[in-house]
């Protein structure tokens, strides 16, 4: 009996450690291809770039764990960037180009993110429309809105505000860039929320079996809506640290972010149909995706244009490995 226990434990550990092992392997490969891979500058750059997808993916982990999906996050980031820029540019005249204007822009981003998440959530729960359809719809709406606001071109942030806002992306605190700190903060908060609170337990229960959740006195609609609101909040945080990087927004901002975020979640071991979520895995998943791109930048062996191919392969292999695990367990219990 003890033996069985142990094998089950080590089995789960191995599975949980899978993404981490993959990341370490990638890093070793990166180092072998080009020792500059582990230079401080490169690693910091890698972490900073992971932050956008990583923060969004933390939100996506909640949505997916509760059995939903949000395809609108990339477009949502774009439209929030656009509106933020418009608002700040207009505020320059009255409020100047100081910190207050930037804070106003950030506040606006958060309100927009929460609002967009709430719309997605309510349409899914109260409107009883499949999450895939709702967010496919809002994805299109958000994308076309940003194009409309930019009049088909690019919305650029006022030069003076850019100066004020720039440090949010480019400055470091205690050796780590600010986006990385935000990423760490979001990751810890997300982990606590999913693993240590009743809300996290409710998300898992709903994703496992919605009927059981309903009969267990869980306010299913409210919890599901909240997962989309959390997703919206994560998108707005990612946008706030993204806007100072380029200082502009256009119809191509945040394209395919939704797929990268979902990929990070799935690579990390969260089950796409819900009921099992891992924040730690999601973060590693986001790091893996960014690392692949980074390594390809460093080497000439594979064309940088094949970045998507490598990411795609990793996603398929990761899910295939998960399935193999589940398949074995399934036949055993039958």
């Amino acid at each position: 009996m003890r033996q069985k226990n142990q094998s089950r434990l080590s089995g789960i550990d191995l599975k949980a450690a899978g993404p981490a092992i993959a990341l370490i392997l990638l890093c070793i490969i990166g180092y072998m291809l080009n020792p500059a891979f582990i230079s401080e500058g490169n690693l910091t750059n890698l972490l900073t770039r992971s932050a956008f997808i990583g923060i969004i993916a933390v939100g996506a982990t909640f949505v997916i764990t509760a059995g939903g999906i949000d395809l609108s996050v990339g477009s949502m980031a774009a439209v929030i960037s656009g509106l933020m820029i418009i608002l700040m540019n207009n505020a320059v005249n009255t409020m100047g180009a100081g910190v207050a204007t930037v804070l106003l822009g950030c506040g606006c981003a958060i309100v927009l993110g929460l609002g967009a998440g709430l719309v997605n959530g309510l349409l899914t729960t109260k409107g009883k429309i499949e999450a895939f359809i709702v967010t496919l719809g809002t994805m299109g709406i958000f994308r076309s809105l940003v194009t409309y606001f930019a009049d088909g071109g690019t919305l650029s942030l006022d030069f003076e505000i850019r100066g004020t806002y720039r440090p949010v992306y480019y400055d470091s605190v205690m050796g780590l860039p600010i986006p990385v700190w935000v990423f760490i903060f979001v990751a810890i908060a997300g982990w606590l929320l999913l693993n240590r609170t009743a809300f996290g337990r409710y998300c898992t229960a709903i994703g496992s079996n919605e009927a059981v959740a309903k009969y267990s006195a869980i306010k299913v609609d409210r919890v599901k809506t909240l997962t989309y609101v959390i997703q919206g909040l994560c998108v707005s945080l990612a946008t706030i640290i993204y806007v100072p990087r380029l200082g502009s927004a256009s119809s191509s901002t945040g394209v395919l972010w939704e797929l990268e975020a979902i990929a990070a979640v799935i690579i990390g071991g969260t089950v796409l149909k819900g009921g099992y979520g891992r924040i730690g895995g999601t973060i590693i998943g986001a790091l893996i995706l960014t690392t692949i791109g980074n390594i390809l930048n460093f080497t000439d062996m594979i064309s940088n244009y094949l970045n998507g191919t490598m990411q795609g392969l990793i996603i398929i292999v990761a899910v295939w490995l998960q399935r193999a695990e589940f398949g074995r367990k399934g036949t055993k219990s039958e």
Partner: protein, 508 residues
């Protein structure tokens, strides 16, 4: 061949079969022989190894040691249902039908008839219609499975088996979710199959039915073969004793006299919803109120409307003298009334999770401290529940889906009791569980009532309704047909109300 001659009529047999999962043995040298044209019942408590034996006989499991003989020839049955081609067909308890496809498509799934490379729909329809007409049910080949009742789905499974030229039909608790009328219809089909030479193996916890339909009975206990007897030699009591291995003391605990002056816990007046009309009844503190009726008579719907799981269209409900109209299950729970679903696998428990998150899910706010969950308190609760409800599991980290039905039911009970309710509604408390666990659950219900908790027990099993209720409400077609007390609580009276031969309107 020699073997075949020495037991000429055994179409399928297991010979000294052992089976272990990992290091856990579940079957110890079990032998059974299934003869042509017999109905062979397999009985035993939950966890006795019945399911495992059935899966070995149908090729879903391979025995760790021992032989399976088909027509007397040692055979390794192909797995994953391939044994169907050899005429050995297992009908799972969770029926295996594609819900969104039609009856005809399901029957021919995987071996569709074709003509010139396209589906021969007319041909298939005619064949299926022939079978369905034989059975005498109002099902059409073009009906969608999701529109059928459970009994009808079961019949479709049987048609599927017949159409595959079944020689041995193995069924896991086929009657567990059937009403009496449906069971009778089902038995008619069993008789028909039997007379055409099909051997039938079935598992049932309803010993009365076993006595009625089986020719021979094999009893398993703790993975061991205990006995195989002709049905004439056994009474239901004797079967129960063989299963449990000890004298069964009284199945039902003594019913304490109800206190007719106890304050009212629940009072329902003129309640209507989508499925029920003008429901009025009352429930006193410390009372066990039985709710009897045929499946679909609206018993569950009444309590879903009371507990905030379904919308009411009329009527008022008073809980401990205060108007009660919960907007959510959470509000019901907080006011002290809980509903325990009959559907433990679909609505009751998270099968992919361990016991602890399942136990505390219903009362989770109780375990929240500041921002997090108090896992130590959860663990203590689990240990207490395991003791209180006698939940047995091989290891504490087992997934709930891998536990036996009886232990799942106890866990479900423990889960709703975790929030200390004043009124408990238990829907089909003993569906699909063995007689030993049933007894424990009856005693538990009686103990609850003795503590002053009011219990509503919805049940389709007449003996238990009679055995532990102070009063019995009989429902029919979404209405209350009658409320029985005292000596009126007997089988013939209840049947008369349930069948619509008699009805009264309550006016107290």
């Amino acid at each position: 061949m020699l073997d075949g001659q020495s037991i000429p009529s055994a179409v399928l047999a297991a010979d000294c079969v052992n089976k272990s999962f990992g290091s856990v043995p579940v079957l110890f040298s079990v032998s059974i022989d299934i003869r042509v044209g017999e109905v062979h019942a397999l009985i035993g408590e939950n966890g006795a190894g019945k399911s495992t034996l059935m899966k070995i006989l149908s090729g879903f499991h391979t025995p760790t040691s021992g032989r399976v003989l088909l027509d007397g020839v040692p055979t390794t049955l192909p797995g994953n249902g391939e044994a169907e081609k050899l005429g050995v067909i297992l009908i799972h308890q969770e029926l295996n039908l594609a819900e969104q496809m039609t009856v005809e498509e399901n029957v021919f799934l995987g071996r569709e008839m074709t003509r010139n490379g396209v589906l021969d729909q007319e041909g298939m329809r005619a064949v299926v219609k022939g079978y369905l007409d034989d059975i005498g049910l109002g099902i059409r080949p073009t009906d969608r499975i999701s529109d059928l009742s459970i009994a009808e789905k079961q019949m479709v499974e049987i048609v599927k088996a017949i159409s595959r030229n079944a020689r041995v039909l193995i069924m896991d608790e086929p009657t567990a979710v059937l009403t009496e009328a449906e069971t009778a219809l089902f038995f008619k089909q069993v008789e028909r199959l039997k007379s055409s030479g099909v051997a039938i193996v079935f598992v049932s916890h309803k010993l009365g039915e076993v006595k009625e339909i089986a020719d021979r009975v094999t009893v398993l206990r703790d993975g061991q073969w205990i006995a195989t007897n002709e049905i004439e030699d056994l009474t239901p009591d004797a079967m129960a004793q063989l299963m449990v291995g000890r004298e069964l003391s009284d199945l039902f605990p003594p019913v304490h006299e109800a206190d007719v002056d106890a304050p009212l816990a629940l009072e329902v007046r003129g309640l209507s919803s989508m499925d029920v009309r003008k429901i009025s009844f009352s429930l006193r503190e410390g009372e066990v109120l039985g709710f009897f009726g045929l499946i679909g008579s609206g018993r569950t719907a009444v309590f879903e409307a009371i507990c905030g799981l379904a919308d009411r269209t009329a009527g008022n409900v008073q809980l401990f003298g205060a108007a009660f109209d919960p907007k959510s299950v959470a509000e019901s729970r907080d006011k002290g009334i809980v509903y325990l679903t009959k559907d433990r696998k679909e609505k009751g428990l998270l099968l992919g999770q361990k016991m602890r998150p399942n136990l505390t899910l219903f009362a989770l706010p109780k375990f929240a401290k500041r921002f997090g969950l108090d896992k130590a308190a959860e663990q203590t609760a689990l240990e207490r529940a395991v003791r209180r409800f006698d939940i047995r599991s091989r290891d504490p980290d087992v997934l709930v889906g891998d536990m036996s039905g009886g232990n799942q039911q106890k866990l479900l009970l423990a889960k709703v009791m975790e929030c200390d309710p004043k009124v408990v509604v238990i829907d089909e408390p003993t569906r699909g569980i063995d007689v030993g666990t049933k007894q424990q659950i009856y005693h538990f219900i009686a103990a609850l009532a003795a503590e002053g908790v009011s219990v509503v027990m919805i049940s389709s099993e007449m003996p238990e309704v009679i055995g532990i209720s102070h009063r019995v409400v009989v429902m029919r077609n979404g209405e209350i047909a009658g409320i029985l007390t005292g000596d009126d609580i007997n089988e013939s009276e209840i049947v008369r109300y349930a069948a619509g031969l008699k009805r009264v309107t309550e006016n107290d």
